[in-house]
Structures are given as structure tokens and as C-alpha cells.
């Protein structure tokens, strides 16, 4: 056994045969003996390192996170599987708001009270991403006759009803 292979084995978990060979070398080599003592000392320091405890709030915070997780993600369902229906519901809610708005405008424009006036036509939508599928609480229609293209107007404004909560979307006159 030479010094190099001894140095490589100082940290290793050795079998009895290797242990004997190592001991024989160490008995005759002061430099490797010193290196072996260093490794032994470092190991003992590592073994004595204290185990650090997390903060006192760890347990209740974990409880809270576990409660949230088990509410939203039952153990049998994957994260994605549990989120997909929510995203679907949100999309449906947004679509329903747009359809309802178009319907109301169309109905009013055809009704006796529809007035051809000047000024912009605005639609206030209360929609948010997670809004339930219900009729919007406020829909204001001002303006003109004819069927407005809400989707086109939204696009031209660079906004979407899904992203704006309680926003007033101004549709330019045709």
C-alpha cells in the first residue's frame, strides 16, 4: 500500500483486511499517520454537530399547510387533476359574462327604449377569474343602435373581461 492509496482510504469504511494493511502502513509512515489523525478528528467533529431545530411556529404552520393541502388536494388526486375543474369553471364564468352582456345589449337595442344617442357605449363587467357562473350584478349599456361586437372591442382595448375586475370597457362607436 502506498501513501496515495492510503490517503484515499482514510475516510472509507474498510473491511478488516484493508484495516490491517492500513495499520501496517501507518505504523511506518508518519505523514500518513498525521493525515489519519486529521480525518479521525474531522469525523468526530461532524458526528458531534448538533441537530438544529426549526422554529417554534413550525408545527402549527405545517398543520395549516396540511389542512389547506388536504382540502384542495385529496391524497388520491394529483395536483393538476384537482386544479383543472377550477380552471374550467373560471373559463365558463368568463364566457357566460360575455354572452350575457352581448345578449343584454342586443335585447335593449331592439326594445322600445333603445335610443340612438351619441357618445361611447360602455359595458361594466364585474367578472373576475374565479367568479361563479351567475349573472353580473351590474351591466350598463349606453349608446347606439345595432349589434356591437364586444369581442372585437375587447381586443382593440387590449383587455379581457376575465382579467379586469369591475372595469369599465369602452366600446367605440361604429
Amino acid at each position: 500500500m502506498n501513501c496515495r492509496s492510503v490517503r484515499e482510504q482514510l475516510w472509507a469504511d474498510r473491511g478488516e483486511a484493508a484495516q490491517d494493511l492500513l495499520a501496517a502502513h501507518l505504523g511506518a509512515c508518519s505523514s500518513c499517520t498525521e493525515a489519519a489523525a486529521e480525518v479521525k478528528r474531522l469525523r468526530s467533529w461532524l458526528h458531534e454537530l448538533p441537530v438544529e431545530e426549526p422554529s417554534a411556529q413550525f408545527d402549527w404552520r405545517l398543520r395549516l399547510r396540511l389542512a389547506r393541502a388536504s382540502k384542495s388536494e385529496p391524497a388520491t388526486r394529483s395536483r393538476w387533476a384537482s386544479r383543472a375543474p377550477m380552471q374550467f369553471a373560471a373559463s365558463m364564468a368568463a364566457a357566460a359574462v360575455v354572452v350575457l352582456a352581448v345578449g343584454l345589449i342586443w335585447t335593449r337595442d331592439r326594445g322600445p327604449e333603445s335610443a340612438g344617442g351619441s357618445g361611447p357605449l360602455s359595458v361594466t363587467t364585474p367578472g373576475t377569474l374565479h367568479a361563479p357562473v351567475t349573472a353580473p350584478s351590474v351591466v350598463q349599456v349606453r349608446g347606439r343602435s345595432g349589434l356591437p361586437d364586444i369581442d372585437e372591442a375587447l381586443r382593440s382595448e387590449g383587455r379581457t373581461a376575465r382579467n379586469d375586475s369591475d372595469s369599465t370597457i369602452v366600446v367605440p362607436r361604429r
Binding site: W11, L42, W45, L46, L49, E53, F58, A75, T76, R79
Partner: protein, 222 residues
């Protein structure tokens, strides 16, 4: 594991069960079994994560997230690996994701005390207080532990992970391979490199201790 495999048992009885048996009860819906697993593993897992992340807030957050994922995905646990191996695999992956995110964020500042990157191979040594500041005084055990902790933190991240798992948490090479997703040969090589780095980093402390042999404190002398 099926939810009907295990019956409910008293908390006192649960305490005596092995981790893997407790997991069967967790899958069976017994929250108390999971609480016991948390109490058994939280401190050691947190310590491990502290050594990797070097930030108490991050370490605690990842510890909790690892437990939450273990709980939510309990049914995916297969009793072919130790529970601790599975838990540390989850935690190690979370750490990697976090470090990756930090690296890619615009405000990223090196985790390595502002010197080099966590993956840097640059070798550093421990800065000891000037001897003149500590005349004839031996290093207290607690001081030594702080220096050892700092020494571990200065091992490059790519070696530190395997080094800590082996030398501090005492996992086997095979378990470390499972936790890190590395081949056994790579694990051996990284542990050895980590050891060499650690020895070099700690050289000033070893020298100092060599000069004053009584410094390691009670029971710590090799």
C-alpha cells in the same frame, strides 16, 4: 397501498411502529401517524436543508413543503425504500428547484457568502479569529461547531449534498444514489471530493487545534 389495509390503532401503539408501517396508517387516513413521522424527522431534515440552503426561513419552508408533499402523495409511497429516503428525495428535489429559480431570478446573489457560485469549485478556507484576539484561550466546543458548520457550507454545492447525506446524516451510498438520482460511482466520487474540500477548508482549524491539543472539548478528541 390500499386504504383498507390497516385498522385504526391508539396513538401510543403508533409510536412504536416503524416509519414504513406508519405510512400505511397515513394512507389509511390516520393523521396521527403522520404527526409522529413529522416529529421523528423534522429536526434532522431541517438541519440537512439548513446545510444546503444556508437560510433558516428557506430551510423551514422547504421542510414543510416536503412534509406536505409526502402527505398529499402518501399513496405513491412504495414500501421498497425507507420512508426517510423518500422524504429526503422529495426535499432534495425541492432544494434543487429553489436554487434553480434563485439562479435564474434577476436579483440572484451568490449563496456562497457572495464569493463564487454555489457550484464553484473554488476552494476556500475558514478565517479564524486572529490569535492575538484569543490569547491563551482554547476554542469552545460551540465555537468549534460553528466553524465546522461554516466549513460544510463552503463545500461546493454539487459535492456538499452527497457529503452531508453521508457524513452528517449517515445514509448509505445506495440511499444517497436514490435520494440524489445519481449513479453510485458519481455518488462515491462526489462524497470523496466533498471530503477533500472539507479537509482543506478546515485546515486552519485543524492546525490551530493541533497547536493546542485540548481545544476539542470533552469527548470530541479523536
Amino acid at each position: 397501498m390500499s386504504r383498507t389495509q390497516v385498522g385504526r390503532v391508539a396513538v401510543g401503539e403508533l409510536q412504536s411502529l416503524a416509519d414504513e408501517q406508519l405510512m400505511e396508517h397515513v394512507v389509511g387516513g390516520e393523521r396521527a401517524a403522520f404527526d409522529i413521522l413529522v416529529q421523528r424527522h423534522k429536526a434532522r431534515l431541517y438541519s440537512y436543508l439548513m446545510r444546503l440552503l444556508r437560510n433558516p426561513h428557506d430551510a423551514e419552508d422547504v421542510t414543510q413543503e416536503a412534509f406536505v408533499r409526502a402527505y398529499v402523495h402518501a399513496e405513491k409511497y412504495r414500501n421498497i425504500a425507507k420512508f426517510s429516503t423518500w422524504l429526503y428525495t422529495i426535499a432534495t428535489n425541492l432544494v434543487r428547484n429553489r436554487i434553480r429559480k434563485q439562479k435564474s431570478s434577476p436579483g440572484f446573489l451568490s449563496l456562497a457568502f457572495g464569493r463564487g457560485t454555489p457550484d464553484s469549485d473554488e476552494r476556500e478556507t475558514i478565517d479564524l479569529p486572529d490569535r492575538a484576539d484569543l490569547p491563551d484561550r482554547v476554542l469552545e466546543k460551540s465555537e468549534l461547531q460553528v466553524l465546522v458548520g461554516r466549513g460544510i457550507e463552503r463545500i461546493p454545492a454539487r459535492y456538499r449534498e452527497a457529503f452531508v447525506l453521508r457524513e452528517v446524516n449517515h445514509f448509505t451510498y445506495e440511499e444517497i444514489a436514490a435520494i440524489t438520482g445519481l449513479k453510485l460511482g458519481t455518488v462515491r466520487s462526489r462524497i470523496n471530493r466533498g471530503r477533500n474540500h472539507f479537509r482543506e477548508i478546515m485546515h486552519p482549524v485543524l492546525r490551530r487545534v493541533g497547536e493546542i491539543p485540548a481545544t476539542t472539548g470533552e469527548g470530541s478528541e479523536a
